[in-house]
């Protein structure tokens, strides 16, 4: 958000020494994961059970699916605050389709399509309406969740077709849940897209210098639009998983998820100003957050206190390298 911090970042990149590869972001995340894994295993005798570990993946996979898409959007210099609202809206549309007695594929399709449409609205506001993305999606967040409330009021939708529950609760083989398999597959696709295709380079280029990118022939507006649609679709998919797992729809579903998802992305080392970030980092951050919140859950720590831990984690993880860069990294 400020030019000052951007230049500080680029300076730090120039002065990087060989041993700095050891303190790569991903290495630190792996270390944090190992430490937390050890703490969890020590603190609770139930933690190392494969079925317990399977539960870890289920609770985090839904947010992580959205975080993968959000990572691309943030790398391109934009943000989407409305994902929680999209999940609620998609869940309501699935609930209505299911109540009308339509078959399972249509129920799932309606959820994903709702997410896709919501993404189009966000994309259009930013690329055609020229509204800054944080402002546009604060508006649509209220709008999407507001529509969910308008349709459902204080009611609940819970008539879903048989087989729907498998998506969020079922397992592919033993303790390997469908959600986990889906997340691993999507993460693989995201890694290839980000690190091995021209598309990934274009996303990063657009985030680090939109003007230069546009002048060198990248259709930056079309790219941004596509990324908003991708985030919306991912939120629709997350809504399918979440609704299936809970087995019911309320308009307050996924409240506050946008902040957890964005925390995951930033924790993964994606620069909020855009232009910097890796997908393995985001995947590791998702695993770390899943382990930490689950470990605290095992110790009967209430959810609201976990938010203190995730908030502190976010700040510490960002502040320590920043402090080292500023006070320990020699002359500026």
């Amino acid at each position: 958000m400020s030019d000052v911090s951007l230049s500080a970042r680029s300076k730090a990149r120039v002065t990087r020494r060989p041993w700095h590869a050891l303190v790569r972001w991903e290495t630190l995340l792996v270390l944090a994961i190992l430490v937390d894994f050890a703490i969890n295993a020590h603190a609770s005798p139930y933690f190392l059970d494969p079925w317990t570990l399977s539960d870890v993946t289920v609770s985090v996979a839904e947010k992580a699916v959205v975080a993968l898409a959000m990572a691309f959007l943030v790398m391109a210099g934009e943000i989407d605050i409305s994902v929680g609202g999209i999940i609620a809206l998609a869940s309501v549309s699935m609930g209505l389709v299911a109540r009308a007695g339509l078959p399972l594929p249509l129920v799932v399709a309606s959820g994903i399509a709702t997410g896709l449409l919501a993404g189009c609205v966000n994309g259009a506001l930013v690329t055609i309406g020229r509204v800054p993305s944080i402002v546009a999606t604060i508006g649509t967040m209220t709008l999407f969740r507001g529509i969910a409330y308008a349709v459902l009021g204080d009611g609940v939708l819970k008539t879903y077709p048989p087989g729907f529950a498998w998506l969020g609760q079922g397992s592919v083989a033993g303790p390997v849940s469908f959600e986990l398999v889906l997340f691993v597959a999507l993460a693989a696709v995201a890694i290839v897209l980000r690190h091995a295709t021209a598309f990934g380079r274009r996303v990063v280029a657009t985030g680090s210098n939109p003007e230069a990118s546009r002048m060198s022939g990248i259709a930056t507006d079309r790219l941004r639009f596509a990324l908003f649609v991708a985030v919306g679709t991912a939120a629709g998919l997350a809504s399918v998983l979440l609704t299936s797992r809970l087995g019911s729809t309320r308009p307050s579903i996924a409240q506050g998820w946008e902040l957890e998802i964005i925390t995951m992305v930033i924790l993964g080392g994606v620069a909020i100003e855009g232009g910097i970030g890796t997908i393995p980092g985001v995947v590791l951050a998702a695993i770390l957050m899943g382990l930490v919140t689950f470990g605290l859950g095992l110790l009967n720590v209430p959810g609201i206190v976990m938010s203190v831990v995730t908030g502190t984690m976010l700040i510490v993880v960002v502040a320590v390298p920043a402090a080292l860069r500023r006070y320990g990294g020699g002359r500026q």
Binding site: D3, V4, A136, G153
Partner: protein
């Protein structure tokens, strides 16, 4: 008509004022009671907290930052002063007021220091402190509620004090708006704040410490949020963990509708007050018009999205440009 008056008519603030009056005029024929002085005073009382928080948020937005933690700051400070009052009801009001402002300022200073000294983007910092402060409310209260019967009479009476037909809460909002306006228009620091957000590099060369300006903005925003913590808890006569949850986004919406630029350096107190009143009028008129409470959020969403879209149109330069202009 003098030239300067015509120029005044073309400003965004004049447009917003017109929009607000139009809204009132549209409601008036159907519900004349809405325009009674008593109802308008009630409207101001309902919107005062939004105005106060939006004034603080504007300062942060002016320096190219954003503060997502103000509602959590409000909840945390509100809970702490409510607990103070519950366990020491004999202390009177002064310690409560002083503590709320100081504690809010301290919480704001945490944000400011991280942004200033470590140069972490403000959205990251306040996303983190938002979770921390909100969790701290739970830690401070143990998840309990502090209800009106546990609050001392003077704790509850202060915001409801009527002076000239208008509540003390409204007077505080008015006084704060005047103070912030004077600070921004008449003091060197205030002008520096605009400069730091408008063009940080140029401000640096002009001898303005951009980091200090960012810190000051967070400090003031925090102090206002802390004061609002007491005012909110007293106004609604209850303190619990989820007080004002998500309110920060409404506050930012009020700022943006009021013409504050999210990319810094642009915005006025008059615009922010009118933007907050715009949201306040809609919120107060919807139940009157017979819109079900479940539709209110959707309508607010349409209004906020529409308003930011129109705002973006208003600030857009010529459509036929090759290079984007840097945001002013």
């Amino acid at each position: 008509m003098p030239e300067s008056f015509l120029r005044l008519l073309r400003t965004r603030e004049a447009g917003l004022l017109g929009l607000n009056l139009l809204l009132l005029a549209a409601i008036a024929p159907f519900f004349p009671a809405f325009l009674r002085p008593g109802s308008l005073a009630g409207l101001l009382d309902d919107t005062a907290l939004l105005i106060l928080l939006a004034l603080g948020e504007m300062l942060v937005l002016l320096t190219r930052g954003v503060d997502l933690s103000i509602a959590a700051n409000l909840a945390f400070t509100g809970m702490v002063v409510a607990l103070l009052d519950q366990y020491h009801p004999g202390l009177g009001l002064a310690p409560v007021l002083i503590l709320s402002v100081l504690m809010g300022a301290a919480l704001g200073a945490v944000n400011g220091l991280l942004v200033w000294r470590l140069r972490i983007p403000s959205i990251v910092v306040t996303l983190g402190t938002l979770s921390i402060y909100r969790g701290a409310v739970y830690l401070a209260s143990g998840g309990r509620w502090v209800n009106s019967n546990q609050m001392s009479p003077q704790f509850l009476a202060f915001v409801r004090l009527q002076l000239g037909g208008v509540s003390m809460l409204s007077w505080i909002a008015i006084a704060c708006a005047v103070l912030v306006a004077l600070f921004l228009r008449r003091s060197v620091r205030g002008r520096d704040l605009y400069a730091a957000g408008n063009n940080p590099s140029a401000a640096l060369y002009a001898g303005i410490d951009v980091g200090v300006m960012q810190f000051s903005a967070f400090l003031i925003a925090g102090a206002i949020a802390g004061l609002c913590g007491y005012l909110w808890v007293s106004r609604y006569a209850v303190a619990y963990t989820d007080v004002a949850s998500g309110f920060e986004l409404q506050v930012i919406a009020a700022c943006v509708i009021g013409g504050v630029s999210i990319s810094g350096g642009v915005g006025s107190v008059a615009g922010v007050v009118l933007g907050a009143l715009f949201l306040g009028i809609i919120k107060n008129a919807l139940p009157l018009v017979g819109v079900s409470p479940f539709f209110q959020m959707a309508v607010s969403g349409v209004v906020i999205t529409g308003a930011v879209l129109i705002n973006a149109r208003g600030t857009q330069a010529s459509a036929l440009r090759i290079l984007e202009r840097r945001p002013a």
